[in-house]
């Protein structure tokens, strides 16, 4: 099995195989041999010299691992790419960076904007966040209106970069 795991966003190429004496894992150029055993959320990772006693849980969007005083959030790069792929289209699309409520729609279709111009003002927990244009263009569609609740990644505004 070969996969790319994003560990806190850092892509690591991981290959795992059965070895004669247990599990053989390879991360980049480094090989680790040993065993991994689990008792519920507790995983005992014995790869190389050190024993790691980790807590491993699978959330909806990632696997979370606590080990040695650190917390790691891990996703498969393939899944991350697949999710990102659906959002990446030719037309620049401005999406909600956070969950929240639309406080103000600053632009209207047909309006020309410069990079950095505010498009939509969002509020979550009484903190305002502005969704701005990443590049110049003309607003083609506005998908939200004031008062709407938006999810992270939800499409707010489409721009025509031409």
């Amino acid at each position: 099995m070969s996969v790319i795991v994003l560990v806190d966003g850092e892509p690591l190429a991981v290959t795992i195989a059965h070895g004669a004496d247990g599990l053989v894992g390879r991360v980049g150029d480094v090989e680790y041999r040993g065993t991994i055993r689990r008792d519920g959320e507790t995983w005992r990772i014995e790869l190389g010299e050190r024993v790691l006693l980790a807590t491993v849980v699978r959330a909806a969007d990632a696997v979370w691992i606590a080990a040695d005083g650190e917390i790691y959030r891990c996703v498969l790069a393939a899944e991350e790419r697949a999710a990102a792929g659906t959002a990446r289209v030719a037309t620049p699309r401005v999406t909600a960076p956070m969950p929240g409520k639309v406080l103000e729609v600053v632009v209207a279709p047909g309006q020309r904007v410069a990079a950095g111009d505010p498009l939509v003002v969002l509020e979550a927990m009484k903190m305002e966040t502005v969704a701005s244009a990443e590049s110049a263009g003309v607003v083609t569609r506005v998908h939200v209106s004031v008062g709407a609740m938006v999810e992270p990644g939800q499409l707010l505004v489409e721009l025509d970069p031409s």
Binding site: V27, R33, G34, D39, I45, V56, V57, E70, P99
Partner: protein
């Protein structure tokens, strides 16, 4: 003498839990309220009774005065504790509670109202001889008016909400051209947060420390202070690390600040727990900022050093009892860190998710005040503060190193938090040296990113297995697994008894 035998806690999260604990120790019944989003929250579970008050949005639940008073009546509560935030500094709520024949555990409505109007309070403080920062009165949301006022106070200036607090509606402006945008944003935030869009302007102090004094008054005319807290470590005007005593406050300065704080409280005939906030500039001059007429988030550090349970004292004072102490003799040093569901590496964006695992820190000199538990859903409806960790030490350094150890022990899986950011702050040489000010984070942590974990390679192997197998939490039940003879289940297809290479 008012009867306080059952307290309705008009709040949620960690502060509701914290108030329940003092109620229980006093033998007072604790009645929780909850919105639909909080039906199985820890404060509901811990209370003696709980009343549903409405849907998730705070406006329809925790801010609904009528629903809260109805809940108090239905549950037989004879008193209401507002906690902090929500309606805690709302004089109309305090009056409504009193009108319903219930005891409001807080200051008199007049004191709340007097300090709630930040502009009027400023004037009153000036008259009482408490130093204030040069400022305008309330101005129309107009660039010209603000420009004229700024010319008097000098730049930089800060635009603030007259009804405000907690950083809501604040905008710092360093030159006249930035005034229009800032005025618009501040007015809008003020309206949204306080239903009152009035704004004003004051001189902005460069790199001041935020130092506040805890005061306490009883109904017998006694009014005392419990020392200061420094709360300079702020992101977007939101405190995240607090401590007492302040590394910058000398005994002489403390005497002057605490005297001024008591004078400020006395000017509004203050009763109960309150906090007088000051800015302390680099020359040791301090200026009245505002008075918070309620319990403060960071009150545990004062409890650590003074030994006074501030919530217990609030309840006793509400009953008409005299203060249980004449003066306090603080001991040692205490720190508090606020654990937020937010991503410090991405502009502190609020994070959401489910708390799949929660390990609370514990041990000597460590206190955890939490409002979450395993299974809690962290949404966007409420403030993203999940818990507070406070530590005490005989010295600041002992408290600091205990905090670092406690943060390391704190494990929350399923929601991004600022835990590692807090660890970095506590470990920064400037923090170690006590060289703190309100621009500390902007100066030292603007580009902070979490470092790569030391065990990420081996973690990646485990993650690859967890992400590609159905072994994690998918197969057997907990009960069935536990009953199995072997203490360890072999993972997925990776059965092996081999030793490390």
């Amino acid at each position: 003498m008012p009867s306080v035998t059952a307290v309705l806690i008009a709040n949620r999260g960690e502060i509701a839990v914290r108030i329940i604990r003092s109620c229980r120790a006093l033998g007072v019944r604790a009645v929780a309220v909850y919105s639909e989003a909080d039906a199985d929250a820890p404060h509901v579970r811990l209370a003696d009774a709980a009343v549903a008050i409405g849907p998730a949005p705070a406006r329809a639940s925790y801010l609904d005065v009528a629903a809260l008073i109805a809940a108090a009546r239905a549950s037989g509560a004879d008193a209401v504790h507002p906690g902090y935030g929500f309606l805690s500094e709302n004089a109309a709520f305090a009056r409504a509670v009193a009108d319903a024949g219930l005891t409001f555990i807080g200051p008199p409505p007049a004191a709340i109202a007097a300090m709630g109007d930040k502009v009027a309070a400023r004037t009153m403080m000036e008259r009482a001889g408490v130093p204030v920062v040069p400022a305008s009165g309330v101005l129309p949301p107009d660039a010209g008016a603000f420009a004229s006022a700024a010319a008097v106070t000098g730049y930089p200036v800060v635009i603030k909400a007259a009804a405000g607090g907690g950083g809501k509606g604040m905008r710092i402006v360093r030159e006249a051209t930035a005034l229009p945008d800032a005025i618009r944003a501040a007015a809008r935030e003020a309206t949204a947060a306080f239903a009152d869009g009035r704004i004003y302007l004051e001189r902005y102090l460069e790199r001041p420390r935020h130092v506040e004094v805890q005061v306490f008054g009883d109904t017998h005319g006694r009014l005392v202070h419990l020392g200061e807290r420094e709360c300079s470590i702020q992101r977007r005007h939101q405190k995240i690390v607090e401590e007492t005593p302040s590394p910058a406050v000398t005994p002489e300065l403390r005497a002057a600040m605490t005297e001024a704080a008591v004078r400020a409280a006395r000017a509004v005939d203050y009763v109960g727990a309150g906090t007088v906030e000051f800015l302390l500039d680099q020359h040791g001059r301090f200026y009245f900022l505002e008075m918070n007429t309620r319990l403060q988030v960071e009150h545990p550090v004062t409890e650590w050093t003074t030994g006074v349970d501030l919530v217990r004292e609030q309840i006793l004072v509400a009953r008409g009892a005299p203060l249980s102490f004449a003066t306090v003799t603080p001991r040692g040093h205490a720190l508090e860190c606020r654990l937020y569901a937010e991503d410090p590496a991405r502009q502190f964006l609020p994070a959401t998710g489910i708390v799949h695992v929660l390990v609370e820190p514990a041990g000597a000199g460590v206190r955890f005040d939490g409002g979450i538990a395993r299974g809690s859903v962290v949404g966007v409806e409420y403030d993203p503060m999940l818990a507070k960790i406070s530590t005490w030490g005989a010295t600041r350094e002992e408290a600091r190193t205990r905090m670092l150890a406690a943060l390391r022990e704190t494990v929350l899986l399923g929601v991004v938090t600022n835990r590692d950011y807090l660890r970095a702050v506590l470990a920064h040489p400037a923090f170690v040296a006590g060289a703190t000010h309100t621009e500390f984070l902007a100066a030292h942590f603007a580009d902070w990113r979490p470092g790569p974990g030391a065990e990420r390679a081996r973690v990646a192997i485990a993650a690859a297995l967890a992400l590609t197998s159905r072994a994690v939490g998918d197969s057997e039940s907990d009960g069935a697994r536990r009953a199995a003879a072997s203490p360890f289940a072999t993972l997925g297809g990776w059965r092996s008894g081999g030793t490390a290479a």
